[in-house]
């Protein structure tokens, strides 16, 4: 069924279809309508789940951590300072290997207060051990939410589905709502390898020593470092799992493809602009204009940000002379995190450094600053002749 709804509603419908058992959330713009929708669905009896109206985001994720540890499919959503307030819990959920799914309606972080879109909130959670997916439109939001549960439960790693606040969360767009039976075919019920249970007692997330140690069966058990290594190893393997799950989804729903990176007119491109989220599709229009001017330029949308699909990114950029990375976040004091990651991927995957493209980091849309298509076009046009005005923050008025 096709409907016209907001991105927040797309996410809520994905959560409903996924058969989530426990939802916990705390209101924050622009996530709020998503969780209001869920409370509506649950109170109306259209969704068989428990909704916990917690007193903070820290507790929202705590509820999910408790529920997931006890074997329930759990969901939360937040934005900006709500995500930052969760930070300790974000790490905890990954270290405990809990397959929680969280939607992040991306918003700028304070100070100063700003409720509009950028990516600083989720990018600042990059190193927590969560999988991060960036949706670019409403169809992707609902599809990614469904895939996220299967991905989380397959890898025992929590997943963040990130989408742009307001630009996607509050805009109305048509999208297809998957059928429940097909969803059930795609996403089997959650059966964790262990759930808290008095009939097989275990103490979870116990203080863990630096060194390995013998367990009660006389077998060697890992130390903290091994636990952390296993998370890293499974995250690296998750790149492939993302592809497998996307293929399975495509088989059932006939939609998908390009779950790691989405190249657009990159095949013959001498220059590639890289972006995440809704900006990606705006860039499609920009390069169409530049193409008509004779520039061989393409767009690479990064859909999976963690684990970073370094091989796919480098492969898509092979042959390019120049790369423009356009970001809505910064690692303050250096450059955009995506820009650094991308450079690192090129360094690893293009052995002949003389053939590596130049990489130019650009910043756009911080705190909801309007990203005008004309400005993007102008900036890239000057970039092609190597003359982007410093500091490369598009639309800044200094």
């Amino acid at each position: 069924m096709h409907i016209i709804e907001t991105g927040n509603v797309a996410a809520a419908l994905g959560v409903k279809l996924a058969g989530v058992q426990v939802v916990a959330a705390y209101p924050i713009t622009p996530q709020t309508p998503l969780t209001e929708k869920l409370s509506e669905l649950i109170e109306a009896g259209e969704m068989d789940a428990r909704y916990v109206p917690v007193e903070s985001e820290h507790s929202a994720l705590a509820v999910c951590i408790g529920a997931s540890s006890a074997g329930a499919r759990s969901f939360t959503a937040t934005s900006a300072n709500g995500l930052l307030y969760m930070h300790e819990q974000v790490h905890w959920a990954a270290g405990a290997r809990l397959p929680i799914v969280m939607c992040v309606a991306n918003r700028a972080v304070g100070a100063p207060w700003n409720i509009w879109n950028d990516h600083q909130d989720s990018i600042s959670q990059r190193d927590t051990g969560w999988i991060q997916i960036y949706s670019c439109d409403h169809q992707q939001i609902i599809d990614d939410t469904l895939k996220a549960f299967r991905l989380a439960e397959t890898t025992s790693i929590p997943v963040m589905v990130c989408y742009d606040g307001y630009l996607l969360s509050h805009t109305y767009m048509p999208f297809e709502v998957p059928e429940q039976e097909k969803v059930e075919q795609f996403l089997p019920p959650f059966h964790p390898s262990y759930a808290l249970d008095p009939s097989s007692p275990a103490n979870l997330n116990t203080v863990t020593l630096p060194e390995i140690r013998t367990d009660v069966h006389g077998e060697m058990a890992h130390g903290y470092m091994e636990i952390r290594y296993l998370l890293q190893e499974d995250l690296r393997k998750a790149v492939q799992v993302v592809e497998e799950i996307d293929a399975a989804f495509q088989e059932i729903f006939g939609r998908g493809g390009a779950p790691l990176v989405e190249p657009y007119r990159c095949d013959d491109a001498e220059y590639v602009v890289v972006g995440m989220g809704s900006l990606t599709y705006q860039l499609w229009d920009v390069i169409e204009t530049l193409r008509t001017e004779g520039h061989k330029i393409g767009v690479l949308g990064v859909r999976l940000y963690r684990p970073f699909p370094d091989a796919a990114v480098a492969a898509a950029l092979r042959g390019a002379r120049g790369v423009f990375v356009m970001e809505k976040a910064l690692s303050y004091g250096y450059e955009g995190a995506l820009c650094s990651d991308l450079k690192s991927a090129l360094y690893d995957h293009i052995p002949d450094k003389s053939r590596a493209p130049f990489v130019k980091g650009l910043v756009a849309g911080i705190g909801g600053r309007e990203i005008r298509t004309a400005d993007l076009t102008d900036t890239l046009r000057s970039g092609l002749v190597g003359s982007i005005p410093e500091p490369g923050w598009i639309g800044i008025q200094l």
Binding site: R97, S156, N203, L204, M220, A221, H222, L230, L231
Partner: protein
């Protein structure tokens, strides 16, 4: 991962004694029950068991007579202090070590 094949991917602990090792080695003094003064021992019937109730380390048995597991008893002396008949004496461990060594 490597060859060791750890049982879990998380910190998942299973119940068992002696997490802290043989905590009896922490002891400076040893509780020793004088059965001639211990009520259940004297009566040959269930009674008192204050030492069992108050032992923080789960090392006094609820039996006639009560017995102390010296492998784990930390020697706090709570049982001696709470015994209503003063049947438990705290004896310096050095006494036992000299005995063993000599």
């Amino acid at each position: 991962m490597g060859t060791r094949g750890y049982r879990y991917k998380t910190s998942h602990s299973l119940p068992g004694p002696g997490d802290g090792g043989n905590t009896g080695s922490w002891r400076v003094q040893r509780p020793v029950i004088d059965l001639t003064r211990c009520t259940p021992a004297k009566r040959g019937a269930e009674a008192c068991f204050a030492c069992w109730l108050y032992c923080p380390d789960v090392v006094v048995s609820r039996t006639i007579p009560p017995e102390i597991d010296y492998k784990y008893c930390k020697g706090c002396g709570i049982c001696a202090e709470e015994c209503p008949t003063k049947a438990i004496a705290m004896v310096d461990e050095s006494v036992y070590h000299e005995h063993v060594e000599g």
